[in-house]
């Protein structure tokens, strides 16, 4: 299979989107990109513990830094389809178990070309049994012992089983390509648009324009990442002229400054899935009627308005709205309190006490829990929110409790299915485990026929919509603040290629 039509189209779409984004976001002056200047971007950080190892990237800040200095073989386009990056094309054998990747001509910052050996080293490092890099699970399917370099610019990956969605692996979060032998990143050498300048953990990272970048040199001469964990400090830094880009603002801040003119607010639509995860393997939510009642009693518009300050769109209990393979033709659920009450009565659950786990682990969780508890009470369930520890929240709710607040960033629908909804998925928060569902997934990823895969994914989504444990009530906009002189910031969901990407923006 050559780099197929879809991948080509999405690459074209990404280019077109970057083009649209070239319109000034706040001001009125020329749209012509300008070279020069130092761009300062403020993010929440990880303190003195931060590392520049791109395979350790975990925070949004680290993802953006990694993307400034390194490349992946592929990345997520704005619709979360797969866009080629260092891999200029990929093709598989008929069984889908051997994939041949052709690398584009690119060079690391020390002038050495990016070769197949670098790719194999990077993937072996991530997949190392003794280590715990985030992308390890994504790469688990590759049989690295039997994978090899065919010349300098071709890699042949052997997979442990047939897998049609292999390009998703190439784009996985944290699957960056580092030079062969690299294991220490005090002065990182990558192939990305910016070269390393200086680093003070927990304070700042300065990188410089890489004039020889294969995807075109950045417009800005220098890029500085600044750390400000408090949202108000990030906002003040932009208002006070200390930064040009503030990552992750609240809707309240956005409303305050939207019309002010001192800061432009940029909405990255469809960035964060917002959900409640019900565990389907234990009472009370092992009763499909009760799950259906929950789906029906949720007033999604009210949740969007009160939790997200209106910055988002309603969800239909399915992950990946507008992404490739999203089942858009399933009718949108609307609140039906009477039907919900009737179902709750039928399930014998009227007046049932339910504990909803929440914490400050993600913004909006506490508000979402209290709003939803009110809605459930109107339908006759005694839902009470229990606030847990924010640092350990995700581990706490994985196996314990019955319903919890949940959120997710962008990833392909296939990745969402395989990591969260199969019997042996490692982060299956809804405990959804059905052999026939697993079988459908295996069929889909073993099928070279894209139309067939689409059909199976639609089937799986219909099942999840009808009986699943995820009550996906909305998709939040991600909010950014930029100084009026910063141009070209693209509207792309968080975690995709064009999000927090600074080689295509300029200072006006």
């Amino acid at each position: 299979m050559r780099l197929d039509r879809r991948a080509f189209l999405s690459a074209a779409a990404a280019v077109a989107l970057a083009g649209c984004a070239s319109q000034p976001t706040g001001g009125t002056t020329s749209t012509q990109p300008r070279r020069g200047g130092r761009l300062r971007a403020a993010f929440a950080g990880g303190g003195a513990q931060e590392s520049l190892d791109p395979h350790l990237a975990n925070l949004f800040l680290e993802a953006s830094r990694s993307k400034a200095m390194f490349d992946k073989l592929a990345d997520y386009g704005t619709d979360v389809s797969i866009v080629p990056r260092l891999a200029s094309r990929w093709e598989s054998d008929a069984e889908l178990s051997t994939w041949r990747i052709t690398l584009r001509e690119a060079a690391f910052h020390d002038g050495k070309p990016v070769r197949a050996a670098d790719v194999l080293h990077s993937y072996a490092r991530i997949a190392d049994e003794k280590r715990t890099f985030r992308a390890k699970a994504n790469l688990a399917l590759i049989d690295l012992k039997n994978s090899r370099a065919v010349g300098d610019r071709t890699v042949e990956f052997r997979l442990k089983r047939p897998y049609a969605e292999f390009p998703n692996v190439l784009a996985a979060f944290g699957a960056y390509i580092v030079p062969e032998g690299a294991d220490e990143f005090a002065r990182p050498v990558g192939s990305g648009p910016f070269t390393f300048g200086s680093f003070q953990p927990g304070r700042s990272l300065l990188v410089r324009r890489n004039p020889d970048y294969w995807d075109g040199a950045p417009y800005v001469d220098e890029l500085e990442y600044l750390i400000a964990n408090e949202e108000s400090a990030r906002v003040n830094a932009v208002l006070g002229g200390q930064a040009d880009y503030a990552h992750d603002l609240t809707p309240a801040t956005a409303r305050t400054h939207e019309a002010g003119g001192r800061m432009s607010i940029i909405r990255l639509s469809n960035s964060g899935m917002q959900a409640f995860a019900m565990k389907v393997d234990r009472p009370p939510f092992d009763d499909p009627q009760l799950r259906k009642a929950m789906f029906l009693l949720a007033d999604r518009s009210q949740l969007i308005d009160s939790v997200l300050g209106g910055a988002g769109q309603v969800g239909n209990d399915l992950f990946g709205k507008d992404y490739l393979y999203y089942a858009a033709d399933i009718p949108q659920r609307t609140p039906d309190l009477e039907q919900a009450k009737w179902l709750i009565g039928k399930a014998g659950a009227t007046g049932l006490q339910i504990q909803l786990d929440t914490s400050a682990a993600a913004s909006g969780f506490l508000e979402a829990a209290s709003v939803f508890a009110d809605q459930a009470r109107q339908a006759g369930l005694e839902v009470s929110a229990k606030v847990g520890n924010k640092d350990t929240y995700w581990a706490d709710v994985l196996n314990k409790g019955t319903i919890c607040c949940y959120r997710s960033g962008a990833m392909p629908i296939e990745t969402h299915l395989s990591q969260r909804l199969l019997t042996n998925s490692t982060t299956n928060a809804t405990k959804w485990a059905r052999p026939e569902f697993d079988a459908l997934y295996d069929q889909a990823v073993a099928s070279p026929d894209e139309a067939r895969r689409r059909e199976i994914y639609q089937d799986m989504q219909r099942t999840l919509h009808a009986e699943g444990g995820f009550l996906i009530w909305g998709f939040a906009d991600w909010l950014l603040g930029t100084s009026p002189r910063l141009r070209g910031v693209a509207n792309a969901p968080a975690n995709t290629l064009d999000w927090a990407r600074f080689d295509k923006v300029w200072l006006g």
């Binding site: 300062r40 403020a42 990880g46 303190g47 003195a48 513990q49 931060e50 590392s51 975990n58 003794k130 280590r131 715990t132 985030r134 390890k136 699970a137 003070q200 953990p201 927990g202 304070r203 700042s204 500085e224 600044l226 750390i227 400000a228 964990n229 408090e230 108000s232 400090a233 990030r234 003040n236 830094a237 208002l239 006070g240 200390q242 930064a243 682990a361 520890n389 924010k390 640092d391 350990t392 995700w394 581990a395 706490d396 994985l398 490692t426 982060t427």
Partner: protein, 314 residues
């Protein structure tokens, strides 16, 4: 008992106090829900991965063993490595120390003249408009928490008027290179201690000025300012000095708040980050630093008192 023996006894006691505090913190950190492995795993709490992380960080060893190892290391001046970044803890501390030292040092430096000056002037103009104004301001200011004051100052003087930078985001490692950055943080740090100490100085000064020896000095024809500064002030200072010692302890806490409002990457920020990351070696090292500071400050005060107070009074 001579001064040297007293000092040795106090130093040994101080070391014991520091070890006790750090050990208590070790126990408390162990009691926090989750460990560094769970926190590091974040939103991918894959059980196998957490187990591997735990093994890699040696968190699977018994707590007592880890505690003993830490104590042994401490004896050699070895504070271990950060669980999260793998960097030596001494390096992490060295990065965070200068901003905190600059903030605390400058605060103390400005605090004494400001507080004493305000107290003396208020006492001299007792009941006048200036005294009343100072009283109103100090009482009002004292009641505002540091965090709120910081936010208000930033909103008015940095964002609206643009006189000072709103945060230290992007500041050079040495904050003294950009003095404008320090103005608002110092105002916040000074606000409350200036109020409390100047109130104490004023009260002491008023008493002293109304006393017989001040009246006597005046009858001898000494100039009013000589009476005030040379005779009344020393007696008025005693309560202020005690308050100053307490302020030094308080500063470490105030600095944590100020560091967070103004994004100054000092020890306070480091403590916050380490607790959320369950980075026990860093937390313990910070506790050793804070405990040592407190012990040393109090030791110095006590030694000073020992030296000054006549032996018969003991």
């Amino acid at each position: 008992m001579n001064l040297a023996r007293y000092a040795v006894r106090r130093v040994l006691l101080g070391v014991a106090q520091v070890v006790a505090v750090a050990s208590l913190v070790f126990v408390l950190t162990e009691a926090l829900p989750g460990d560094a492995a769970v926190v590091l795993a974040g939103d991918i709490p894959d059980e196998e991965r957490i187990a591997q992380l735990r093994a890699a960080l040696e968190l699977d060893r018994p707590a007592v063993e880890r505690w003993a190892d830490w104590l042994a290391g401490l004896a050699h001046g070895d504070l271990g490595v950060s669980l999260v970044s793998g960097r030596p803890v001494t390096g992490v501390l060295a990065d965070g120390l200068p901003p905190t030292l600059v903030l605390a040092g400058l605060t103390l430096l400005l605090l004494v003249p400001l507080a004493v000056g305000a107290g003396v002037i208020a006492a001299v103009r007792q009941g006048g408009p200036l005294d009343r104004a100072l009283t109103t301001v100090t009482v009002g200011l004292y009641s505002i928490p540091e965090f709120a004051l910081g936010v208000v100052l930033v909103a008015v003087f940095a964002v609206r008027l643009g006189w000072f930078p709103p945060t230290a985001v992007g500041a050079p490692p040495n904050l003294l290179e950009q003095p404008a950055l320090l103005v608002l943080p110092l105002v916040v740090l000074l606000a409350r201690p200036v109020c409390s100490i100047s109130r104490l100085v004023r009260a002491g000064m008023v008493d002293a000025l109304n006393s017989g020896y001040a009246a006597h000095a005046r009858r001898l024809g000494l100039s009013p300012w000589r009476v005030r500064l040379a005779h009344a002030l020393p007696n008025a200072l005693a309560p202020g000095v005690q308050q100053l010692a307490r302020t030094t302890d308080w500063l470490l806490g105030g600095v944590i708040v100020v560091e967070s409002v103004f994004v100054i990457p000092g020890l306070g920020t480091l403590l916050n980050d380490s607790v959320s990351a369950r980075d026990i070696p860093v937390i313990q090292a910070l506790c050793v630093v804070f405990a040592t500071t407190t012990v040393v400050v109090n030791l110095a005060a006590d030694l000073g008192a020992y030296r000054l107070v006549p032996g018969s009074a003991r």
